[in-house]
Symmetry: C2
Subunit: 196 residues, 2 copies
């Protein structure tokens, strides 16, 4: 909220930070436990420079994750424009699943680093806003029960992060998301029973 000037850095320092983030995305996606030393080296900076830009390893993981999730979140509004609310919601979940599996390394890195409260901070990010949009549209259309919060929703689909991307995860994800949709529909004004 408070948008103060955050460190008017030197241009070269600025570039270092961006290089670190770019390398980190690649390396963390490949292996969740990529060492800071490797990331720094591939970014062409010393370890000290890394720690000048990020307080610790966890902060890096969170920042990369935050950026990636922004991309997914942004599609929510777009889906709502081109589809019926409940179709949009379901399709968004599918995309989230695909994304989560594609970037499984990142997901593991997240779980490893920040199980506790750090995720809560992310909670108030763009993803939550995207979810809010989807839920509101559905509530107004009467396709889901009233009163579902983004937090409810995020807990309900948490199983996605438990899937192994090297396995046959697609049917399992589909069954989970169908179940969640049915749960959300239960008690909706315009309830029509479970639909495939």
């Amino acid at each position: 909220m408070d948008e103060e000037k955050s460190t008017p850095q030197r241009p070269d320092a600025q570039r270092n930070r961006e290089r670190i983030l770019a390398v980190a995305l690649v390396e963390l996606t490949r292996a969740a436990d990529a060492p800071v030393s490797t990331i720094a080296k591939k970014a062409g900076v010393g370890q000290g420079t890394f720690y000048r830009n990020f307080p610790n390893r966890e902060a890096l993981v969170l920042e990369v994750y935050r950026y990636e999730m922004q991309q997914v979140a942004d599609t929510a509004a777009q889906l709502l424009r081109t589809r019926a609310p409940d179709r949009a919601l379901r399709e968004w979940m599918d995309r989230l699943a695909q994304y989560a599996m594609a970037k499984a390394g990142l997901a593991v890195a997240l779980r490893t680093t920040a199980c506790n409260g750090s995720l809560a901070q992310l909670g108030h990010g763009p993803v939550t806003r995207g979810i809010t949009l989807l839920l509101q549209a559905n509530e107004e259309a009467g396709t889901i029960r009233p009163g579902v919060t983004p937090d409810d929703f995020q807990l309900a689909i948490a199983g996605l992060w438990q899937l192994d991307p090297h396995s046959d995860w697609q049917p399992r994800a589909a069954r989970l998301l169908d179940l969640v949709m049915d749960g959300l529909r239960a008690g909706a004004p315009g309830a029509s029973g479970p639909r495939a």
Copy 2:
């Protein structure tokens, strides 16, 4: 074939293993990242002895977790004897949540160590059997839709492991489990709509 029984250990070696497990339960519950060196020391053994009993740290975490989960799993049959199937299912979920929060350290340790395939092995343990019992009873009673697998169920309640035990998790868990119950009920023969 006459099997060489799984290591007919010396009695003192046997006791060492049990001491390690007992200490590990306490230490891992307190802090998910309790060092092997600490656990070994508090159990009164050298680090080498630890690695004689467990191939690595992950194996220890999994074994402690397995034992603890057995306790919860065992209550499934008992609940089914004294309650209606859907009440039993819902109450079992509540107990699981409580248990998960009480042993949050362990849960974090699990997530940290074994996100990949190791959990799948546990999948065919007592917890899955307990869940199978509950789901079957409910399916026969017509209180949930047919065809729900233990895997479906475990993915649906995965959000529980994401709750912070130091926070006000109870209402959030309750809302999640209500949602899951409604999802399970959707399409049941004896469907009665969402009940509180």
